[in-house]
Point group: C2
Chain length 255, copies 2
């Protein structure tokens, strides 16, 4: 029986995988990878048999069952099996099903985390997800179909909101957040195909997003991330020094 490593490939760029992930790929006998994983990432594994699994869009249970079986079968035949998943395995990744299948088969496994798109997108945007005095929390959510407003209002709330794969429902998400009390002027950033040569970014407001301003810009064939909150505002380069800002903050506290 071999050992299986569930490895997060990160957001796209081959050099945004972890050192641990890259070293394991070098030694891998078999790599079962998401279709979304960039081809350059597979160059880390020159000796491995590479098998594309999963679907870009739509996730049918039968497909997941087949992936589980492929992983278990590979571990019965090979020493080091890598299941390479886009982003981080533990976020929106169906890792639970794969871990259950490995546990049921008595196969040893380990999980190697990956850079999730929210972190890589914040790096590309040069905007911190949390910001002193502005944002102290971040929620990560997904909506492959339009959510109901109660869910956004009551079940997902934080200063900064990041929606994975929110493309089709972007205008609805925006309208529901406005209905729930977020200002229409709240900054929104969209990052598409983060960290790949196809990366594009768009900044607008919640009002603009609700009005459908981003829909023509968005490319349905690429993954995209919706980032919503005051932390994503443009930084004003006022020439004001940090010391001045500190002084103003102190003045505000006195006032």
């Amino acid at each position: 029986m071999g050992k299986v490593y569930l490895i997060g490939a990160g957001p796209g760029a081959a050099d945004l995988i972890t050192v641990r992930g890259a070293r394991l790929l070098e030694r891998a006998d078999v790599v079962l990878h998401d279709a979304l994983v960039e081809p350059a990432m597979l160059d880390y594994a020159p000796h491995a048999r590479k098998i594309a699994v999963g679907k870009r869009c739509g996730k049918r249970s039968t497909a997941q069952h087949f992936i589980n079986k492929q992983i278990v079968d590979a571990a019965k035949e090979h020493g080091l099996v890598v299941r390479l998943k886009g982003g981080d395995p533990m976020l929106f990744g169906r890792a639970d099903e794969e871990m259950r299948a490995l546990e049921a088969a008595g196969i040893e496994y380990e999980v190697v985390p990956g850079i999730t798109a929210a972190l890589a997108s914040a790096a590309s945007l040069r905007r911190s997800l949390t910001l002193r005095g502005v944002s102290r929390s971040v929620a990560l959510a997904t909506h492959s179909r339009a959510p109901d407003s109660a869910e956004i209002r009551e079940q997902v709330n934080a200063d900064s909101l990041v929606f994975y794969m929110g493309r089709d429902s972007a205008p609805e998400i925006a309208q529901q957040l406005i209905d729930a009390g977020r200002a229409g002027s709240t900054p929104v950033a969209i990052v598409e195909a983060c960290s790949t040569p196809r990366e594009r970014m768009l900044t607008l407001t919640l009002d603009g997003l609700a009005a459908g301003d981003a829909q023509l810009w968005l490319d349905a064939s690429q993954p995209s991330l919706l980032m919503i909150g005051d932390a994503f505002a443009e930084r004003v380069s006022s020439g004001q020094s940090d010391a001045d800002a500190e002084h103003d903050e102190a003045a505000l506290r006195v006032a």
Copy 2:
């Protein structure tokens, strides 16, 4: 004028930095690193001058101003300057202040994301942060001091909750979540010093956390993460196959 790279060191283990981060460290002339960064991480940068900056606990503005100045000064003297920050620079990292200082000084910079502790802790726990039918969203928040209950109830909400540095306020956080309607039986996992040789994990319930059951276990000298939600429950190894689970789910939908 040199170029500055704000690099996420990841949760602790030296091989959980990205390949990009490790390669930049190899070429770095100067590395300004958080005190929390593991010593082994600095072995990637054999030629660089290493300067420990920042504080383990407590963040005074004067200290941050001094760090900003050190980074800017280093970039005026050297070609490749790395600012190595624990975890991911864009989450609870004060990167905004550093980016502002670099922009004000007209210094070129880039941000390289890092594995944040929530992802690495989920990998160590072997629990997915999101889980089909259980958890569709994750909130990441921090509380270095006791939060007020309104904040937790209204400003931070998602299926899975992860609190960074919540050690001192863990019982209050738990009680406020119970008061806000979360079941006392909700699973809680605490991961301390994630991915380092000192890593330890504790699982309990929200009731237990509120009662202070984790306080003696926690080591004040180590960073820790509170993970709260049904996604962190023990997996029942019932021997039930995925196909059966699928069948049960279908039955539930009919019922």
